[in-house]
Symmetry: C2
């Protein structure tokens, strides 16, 4: 007795812990500050380390914390809003579209890509790899699949490989008339290569943005972009976007 609320409602420990930590982050820590290590924190709250970690994982998922092996746990800055271009009609690689071409390979598509591309499994596909920076940090990687039929003017001499090749492919793609694009967003977990590039561990939660570009009634290109879910807020439309995060400082004035 004595507590303001009946506390036999069986709230899991890690959930309560998360709430307590969340409030502490609002009131007693500032962005970039490092927290005590997991063993100390667990001891301080009288729980096993695994239980504490469950709470930390949630907070990291919500973009409140950042953890790095060998370093420690720090308070994360608010999420960055990254524009994903809602209704804008432009080919990828148009001047100043925030993406940076990395390289390009020609390959036979995987089954999933071939299906989405509505092309035969035997038709070769150029795959351009790009990455996107924001606030000095890499926030997304992209695989841009372009069937050879979309870039008929491309010659092998243009550029054999590397970023020059990637730019040549994009330049050729721009010769087509873009008719429209469809876009979808879903939750995924980072593949090993994406994780490395995004400075995350494999399996980290990511937002996968899939865009299909159509021209001449066919699918001219397919973009699969992988954004860090912990640090990114995807915004649609031309504007920078709404900003509403967790609710700090609800303490009575």
């Amino acid at each position: 007795m004595g507590t303001t609320q009946l506390d036999s409602v069986q709230e899991p420990k890690y959930w309560h812990l998360k709430t307590v930590l969340s409030e502490a982050l609002d009131s007693e820590f500032s962005v970039g500050e490092i927290l005590p290590n997991e063993r100390d924190l667990a001891a301080r709250f009288g729980v096993a380390r695994a239980t504490l970690r469950q709470a930390l994982e949630q907070l990291e998922l919500e973009g409140r914390l950042q953890r790095r092996r060998g370093v420690g746990t720090t308070v994360a800055p608010p999420r960055v809003g990254v524009a994903v271009g809602g209704a804008q009609h432009a080919w990828p690689g148009t001047a100043g579209d925030a993406w940076q071409a990395v390289d390009c390979v020609q390959e036979t598509p995987s089954a999933a890509v071939a299906t989405a591309l509505e092309t035969g499994a035997d038709e070769p596909v150029h795959t351009v790899r790009r990455s996107r920076m924001s606030g000095g940090q890499r926030v997304a990687t992209e695989l841009l699949h372009i069937p050879a039929a979309s870039v008929p003017g491309l010659t092998a001499i243009d550029a054999p490989s590397g970023t020059a090749r990637a730019r040549a492919v994009l330049r050729e793609l721009h010769r087509m008339d873009l008719e429209g694009q469809e876009r979808s967003v879903e939750l995924g977990s980072a593949r090993a290569d994406d994780a490395r590039e995004l400075d995350r561990l494999p399996g980290s939660p990511v937002l996968v943005v899939t865009t299909r570009f159509t021209a001449q009634g066919r699918t001219a290109a397919l973009s699969v972009a992988t954004y860090r879910a912990d640090t990114c807020r995807l915004t649609f439309g031309e504007t920078p976007g709404v900003e509403i995060h967790h609710d700090p400082a609800r303490r009575a004035s």
Copy 2:
């Protein structure tokens, strides 16, 4: 020597396990089928139950599995594409917008809502609660915050509370001229009430779609919609959307 690849790269067990399970799901299981229980599976793979669970959690996050306490683990159907209306310009609650009003309360806004609404902390706000079904399943809940100034014609007599009240608020809102809307998507974890409504556990990963509606140069309404991240693929634009998921059957023909 002997192996095609240097396998001392130290791949975590749960990661390898996830891959193995993923391939098994593609080849040996069909949608809706129930898997052996966690203790059996762990024993079969020679790992601790916690390790197996780490793999299952990932697969559930990716929408491949569905787990329910007291029941078991089943193979999930492919994610449903839910339209989030990319560039469409229409007020929430317009005929046939897939949402179903639940109830409505009038309250003083939280600090976060008041800020996003660009209104004083003292101005009352109507909060309409809605939910969205898809494929016979509830896939999203929404809190729609509408400052009293946006619905000046609303009378207390219209409907005191409940879904009738919610519809009255929406009807009044439609009298304004919608100028534009901004939208953003980010990863979150389900609050306790949302989780209950979405038939998930608290803290489950969700996609939070925040939309700001503007009219007469002000923010006329703010929608915060919470979608199940495991079962939903958000699509933008008028079309049903691209469908590209994991890459089954890459085994050599």
